[in-house]
Symmetry: C2
């Protein structure tokens, strides 16, 4: 039985999880891969903090470069994070002809093209399965299981912090701010939650999935992104629920002949469907393809051990390839056709809108007239009680419409004398 030596760079949360997994499940990996995958080096500047993992004598050291150069190391796992030394070490490993496994989506977003080119030049694997969806094999499934299909739509609930907050807001009827404070206290949200709650983390993951599914490198800075902070209210969550929907922060990758929708937005999904059933910190991706219809992948999108599971899956594949003297010819596909990403205004969906209209004759006619004028067809309009100040809350659901038409109708309503508070508008998918 061949032995494959592994080095882990970065002995933080996930690094410790990968070390634990490789040590404790070495026999399982032997049975399933026919290889002895041995943890030989762990590099971290901090060699004293107890991470709860008993490394064999001599494995832990401060020098990542030495770990990479060690002839007993065949596969390098980068779990340092960021784009500084992480990039340097990934380059060094690839230059040395050693396959690299990383969960670093920031590095992929900023230097992916350069690193994949280097990996191809050196003929080694560069795997990144844990960069999207943590413990969920969504990257593996898009890349392998669905390899022979045309992927039409991907919906992703890809940020555990947002899904935890939205679930708690619904269950407890509380505000975003209250729930966020709790989540921060419980460790489910960062002190600076911007990347999560404003949608950027989800957007980066959506971009990676779009790259795999459609073979192009989107410019994430130009993509439409809307988070949940300042957008999703407890009131809309309750209204949506009444109508049979839940609000989820959704990554949307939807192909059409006139271009690709690639964006992030809080979106209504059917409460009793699979996406609507994903609660708390769990993540899921739902994929529609020409051959396979809808498939869904669900699990923990983050966390020490779930992320480690996916990293070890990549290590095992790199090890198998090494043992066979091969590597993946295509790390990220390149489409032969040009991919056009649609601006937000061209994106088509059904919509949920909450209007505040003067509780007087003609108000609803003014609103419905505005929708009609802009070609937006209404499927339901329900008044939900009159408030004390003389304005009624009206919930409108539409048939499929272009976002630009919806926005024009809502702007017209907001500018009319019958409108109270500004309208709220969210898409409906699924």
């Amino acid at each position: 039985m061949k032995t494959i030596g592994v080095a882990i760079l970065g002995f933080g949360t996930v690094g410790a999880g990968v070390a634990k997994g490789l040590l404790e499940n070495r026999a399982v990996l032997r049975e399933r891969t026919g290889l002895d995958i041995e943890l030989r080096r762990v590099a971290d500047l901090d060699t004293t903090t107890d991470r709860g993992v008993a490394l064999p004598e001599g494995v832990l050291g401060p020098d990542a470069g030495a770990a990479i150069r060690d002839p007993a190391v065949d596969v390098v796992v980068e779990l340092i994070g960021g784009t500084g030394v992480a990039k340097k070490f990934v380059r060094e490993a690839l230059e040395a002809g050693k396959p690299v496994v990383t969960a670093n989506k920031k590095l992929l977003a900023e230097a992916g093209a350069e690193l994949f080119a280097l990996a191809a030049e050196k003929g080694v694997d560069l795997f990144f399965g844990a960069s999207v969806g943590g413990g969920i094999p969504i990257i593996r499934s898009v890349r392998d299981g669905l390899v022979g299909t045309r992927i039409e739509t991907i919906y992703g609930i890809l940020n555990g912090t947002c899904n935890y907050i939205l679930t708690a807001m619904e269950r407890e009827g509380r505000s975003f701010d209250e729930v966020l404070a709790d989540a921060q206290r419980l460790g489910f949200a960062e002190a600076d939650p911007t990347l999560d709650v404003d949608g950027f983390d989800t957007l980066h993951k959506a971009a990676i999935l779009a790259a795999l599914a459609h073979g192009f490198a989107p410019d994430v800075h130009s993509l439409p992104v809307q988070g949940i902070r300042g957008v999703v209210s407890a009131e809309d969550i309750a209204q949506a629920r009444e109508l049979g929907y839940r609000i989820k922060l959704l990554a949307i990758v939807k192909d059409a002949p006139d271009g690709l929708e690639l964006r992030v937005a809080p979106t209504l999904v059917p409460a009793d469907g699979m996406l609507g059933s994903v609660s708390g910190v769990f993540n899921a991706a739902m994929v529609k393809s020409d051959l396979d219809d809808w498939t869904l992948y669900y699990g923990r999108g983050a966390g020490r051990l779930p992320t480690a599971a996916t990293v070890i899956g990549d290590v095992a594949e790199a090890a198998r390839n090494l043992a066979a003297g091969t590597h993946r010819a295509v790390a990220v596909p390149k489409a032969s056709r040009e991919i056009r990403v649609k601006p937000l205004g061209e994106c088509v969906s059904r919509f949920y809108a909450r209007l505040s209209l003067k509780d007087a004759p003609g108000s609803l006619a003014t609103a419905t007239g505005a929708f009609s004028k802009h070609g937006v067809s209404i499927s339901a309009a329900v008044q939900r009680g009159a408030s004390a100040d003389g304005f009624a809350r009206v919930i409108v659901l539409t048939h499929e419409a272009k976002r630009a038409d919806m926005d024009a109708a809502l702007a017209e309503i907001a500018a009319s004398p019958v409108s109270g508070a500004a309208p709220v508008c969210l898409g409906i998918e699924g």
Copy 2:
């Protein structure tokens, strides 16, 4: 770019789907694999029926042996079904050193050991991803994504016919017989539905998942299996729903220090959880592992194109391996430890029981006394109205108990003078 030639044996429903997928998505496969995967032969005795797929001139013929021997064919896809000529042709292909992709779980169950040994001897791949879960990459996920984890529990909803029937019984409040007749008319159930509704199809799939997860070949004939016919009534579906559960035909593969549960039974699962949300013909598998906690894989468990998607995924992997001059060293793992499958009586779960008890003082005490005597702890007991004949329906939910203890308690109740109709008992999981 290397070209890999493919032969399909059996131009039936799935064969036509695979042909369609390979022809229409050839460019996608080129982008994603770096290989040109070309359909070169389709063999079927019936060369005249129109399957709705336009094969290139000269591809279709009646001679499977000639297709296998064709030097232009590198990968053989067996979609004939059964264990007669299918086995002969799979052997011929492997003997010729050509990798085989099959969806034939009957063949694997009856001749798997022999065929995997031959594939290993010849150093070629034998892939079977579509044999469980159709379009769901459950086999791929257990084999690759979870390769570094210890798999503790697998719950599978793996038979679309049963799930369609159970979903319709719940939604329409109708009997099994009525819904089955409809399903047969609509083509969702076979004229002889035994394999599906009596649980054997699910059991065969559970055995394949257990083999992959735990590295042993279970004897399917000795495993506990209970289907839905004659077991699940509209009344129990409604009662379960009231209590927040749905009834699903579940494959259960659960590891414990004292042995492995490997069985099929109609089971209550939480209605608002992920498994409870799997409705209609859709399938899902939910897996708990030491590192990855719970993950779930959902999609169409059958059908021409979804099954084809998975078959083509296997073809692509076999093609990549061939192009690299390699194959999977481990097709099905072999555990170093002995695996003991628990007899049904030793299996532990919570239980739902429906009792019919005389509507008289002391009846409930007799029943609860029987549970207590056999060490079964009750979590809830609810009387649901008194029927006209003087017997009350009592629903009992238990804490975790051994099935043997539960059966002993129920037998004692059934034999007591307070009991009317025989008790009904189903497990609760999830």
